[in-house]
């Protein structure tokens, strides 16, 4: 009973401590709200968002082959050539109705319709990094034979500009027709809402770092450690206090983007909230981990902020251009954005969204364990 009481006391005061620093609250609540708006206005026309939230290995496409089996093999060769099989899984169907069914059930990202021997139609339902690359690959392949191509796509200017920027494709006879998909298109506001909330929530680890430094490692630490409170209760309370305060601040930003900026976060709001919590947990764990492995507290601050900027940068958080390294896929920003973009634009929750969220929590758990082991040594260093 005493242990629970102590834990709650530390939790409540730590929580209050996080909210009592007005400057930090401004940084973690007001600043992200402003920066999301500013970035989306400033970079709205130029960015290429990385919103690859599909399954890991293949992007499903459907080929409609009304002209007969002969066309299938020709198209198959061209679609399967040049290593495309690594990225795409192709389903061949006989008519457009079947293809649309597949599209509706999310089993296909792209419909390729063979109009005749020399003419190809692409339907790209919405703008995304993978769909853009897919469309470009198909267009490039088809263009080599100077055949005509028709692209039907979601109402995203970004994909149009991407395609238009490749001059050799423009040289071919290209017909582009808009396809209205209502509100589904990704805007810069959506993109920055996701990436900036993730980034600022990662920086909220600063709360954990400050609380640990203040409560365990300086003069206040001397006083805290001489109180009749167990270290488990003390550390648990500090962690939960920092985590809940950061999480609530993240929620304020999230709700602001939803109700004031009008961002549609999809139907699975609980998953977005859970992801926010996962990011905040990771942020606290990572901050404390850095704090215990770096000798000086001020240096730990610099290292922490540096790491978080690098993570945001390589995962494309500032401009949508993620670095092309395998590890980037496992950076916490990428994991969290997979879930958030997925919730925003998928009607269903994919396995990858679950596995990425699971990884995020697993990272936090492992970092907490390491920090606990190393932190104990640091706590009594020199004693």
């Amino acid at each position: 009973m005493k242990a629970i009481k102590d834990f709650l006391t530390v939790f409540i005061k730590s929580h209050k401590f996080c909210w009592s620093d007005r400057f930090s609250v401004a940084v973690f609540v007001i600043f992200p709200i402003v920066i999301i708006f500013v970035l989306s206005q400033a970079l709205g026309g130029a960015f290429e968002g990385n919103m690859d939230f599909g399954e890991d290995f293949t992007i499903p496409i459907t080929v409609v082959c009304e002209a007969g089996e002969g066309e299938t093999s020709t198209l198959g060769e061209f679609l399967l050539g040049d290593g495309l099989t690594d990225f795409f899984s192709t389903t061949f169907v006989d008519n457009i109705e079947e293809a649309e069914e597949l599209m509706k059930s999310e089993e296909s990202n792209l419909i390729v319709t063979i109009e005749n021997e020399n003419e190809l139609s692409l339907f790209v339902p919405e703008y995304s990094w993978s769909n853009t690359r897919l469309a470009l690959s198909v267009v490039e392949q088809f263009n080599q034979t100077n055949q005509a191509i028709q692209i039907t796509m979601g109402n995203s200017d970004d994909l149009l500009s991407d395609l238009a920027s490749i001059e050799q494709i423009m040289a071919s006879e290209l017909t582009i027709r808009e396809y209205d998909r209502g509100e589904d298109a990704v805007s810069a506001l959506n993109f920055f809402a996701v990436t900036m909330i993730i980034m600022f929530m990662l920086f909220s680890g600063e709360y954990g770092l400050q609380l640990f430094k203040q409560s365990l490692f300086n003069e206040t630490g001397s006083r805290m450690l001489t109180t009749p409170v167990s270290k488990t209760g003390l550390i648990g309370g500090l962690l939960l206090g920092a985590t809940i305060a950061s999480f609530l601040q993240g929620m304020v930003v999230f709700l602001f983007t939803k109700f004031v900026y009008g961002i549609d976060w999809g139907n699975e709001i609980w998953l977005v909230v859970l992801t926010l919590f996962g990011i905040v947990m990771f942020a606290q764990a990572f901050a404390i981990f850095i704090f215990v492995i770096v000798k000086k507290a001020n240096a730990a601050n610099v290292v922490l902020q540096g790491c978080l900027f690098v993570m945001t940068f390589v995962s494309g958080g500032f401009n949508g251009q993620a670095f092309d390294f395998a590890f980037v896929r496992y950076v916490p920003n990428s994991l969290a954005s997979t879930v958030m973009f997925g919730t925003m634009f998928n009607d269903e929750i994919t396995n990858r969204m679950f596995s990425d969220l699971g990884l995020l929590f697993a990272y936090s758990f492992v970092l907490f364990i390491i920090a606990a082991v190393l932190g104990r040594r640091k706590l009594y260093a020199g004693s």
């Binding site: 005493k2 206040t220 001397s222 001489t226 109180t227 009749p228 004693s383």
Partner: protein
């Protein structure tokens, strides 16, 4: 004995911070730990409170044997620690800080509120109870720092240099508070560089140097260990070159010398407790005495005698 430390040794690598330190403290005593930086005062406090462990030796707290860094919750509950630097949450209000530490020491509900109000009142912080310490002066922070250690009414209050860097008014407030707390029966361990503070508030003094106790006793007992004698300063209106010679004829006078060229003011050193003041005044009466000051050996002199160094030189 409320606290005993017997043959306690603390080593950090090859450096010996405490070298067979031995002292005891009975209930209601106010013990001043006096010594230059590096004497081992803070290490002693850390060992007592379980912030660090002794390399060897025996420690008992409230009759319980304390080993390593482990201290029972019952012992912790009875100790209040005022660290040397501010141990406060700078962005929480003064009231929040007091409540927080009160709760951690198991004070809750109406009792907590009552004690917080009392403590704020005692320390003269009632008017700024809702303000955060980051807006406080050094003196106010020091007082709140003490408040957080006394909110649970500890039996043993440990103050580690509680008046460093504050204004005379706040210092006086703190010293008056310590005197009052001691008078109410709280046992106090008070470390300081300031002799006059220790002389004022402590019933017993333990002088430490290089990890050892070099003197332990009341202020008077320790002062007597000084090699220095009684010192008088006398100013007369009608000076005469014969004054020093006449004074030195008195038995027990060690030295008499003018302090400036006017030959009006003299410093006279006499053997301790020789009762020479009356004789000196008798000799000087024809010269119209206008001022007399006397100085007995104090802790500063004793410290200098015992260690060969001034207390604050090393600090």
């Amino acid at each position: 004995m409320l606290v005993t430390m017997n043959q306690v040794v603390k080593r950090y690598g090859t450096f010996t911070a405490l070298d067979n330190l031995t002292f005891g403290l009975t209930k209601g005593e106010t013990l001043g730990l006096l010594g230059p930086n590096g004497a081992g005062k803070s290490t002693t406090i850390k060992i007592l409170t379980g912030l660090t462990s002794a390399t060897s030796g025996e420690i008992t707290l409230f009759g319980e044997r304390a080993s390593g860094r482990t201290r029972s919750n019952a012992s912790k509950q009875r100790i209040g620690l005022v660290p040397q630097d501010f141990a406060l949450y700078e962005t929480l209000s003064a009231r929040d800080n007091l409540e927080y530490f009160g709760q951690l020491y198991g004070v809750h509900g109406g009792e907590l509120k009552k004690r917080v109000d009392e403590t704020l009142n005692i320390l003269g912080l009632s008017d700024v109870a809702t303000k955060a310490p980051k807006k406080f002066s050094g003196g106010m922070k020091r007082r709140l720092n003490i408040g957080c250690a006394i909110i649970h009414k500890p039996e043993l209050l440990i103050l580690d240099e509680p008046t460093v860097g504050i204004d005379p008014q706040s210092r006086n407030h703190i010293l008056a508070f310590v005197e009052k707390t001691a008078a109410e029966g709280t046992t106090v361990i008070y470390t300081s560089h300031y002799m006059e503070e220790v002389e004022r508030v402590c019933s017993r003094v333990c002088i430490m140097d290089a990890g050892k106790t070099i003197a332990d006793g009341t202020v008077d007992e320790i002062a007597k260990k000084s090699i220095f004698e009684d010192e008088f300063t006398v100013t007369v209106n009608e000076p005469s070159p014969a004054i020093p010679e006449n004074i030195q004829k008195i038995a027990g006078i060690i030295r008499c010398s003018p302090i400036d060229n006017s030959n009006r003011t003299f410093t006279i050193i006499s053997k301790r407790d020789s009762g020479n003041l009356a004789r000196i005044l008798e000799v000087l009466a024809p010269h119209t005495i206008v001022a007399v000051t006397t100085k007995k050996p104090n802790l500063e002199d004793a410290f200098l005698s015992l260690t060969g160094k001034a207390l604050r030189d090393d600090g």
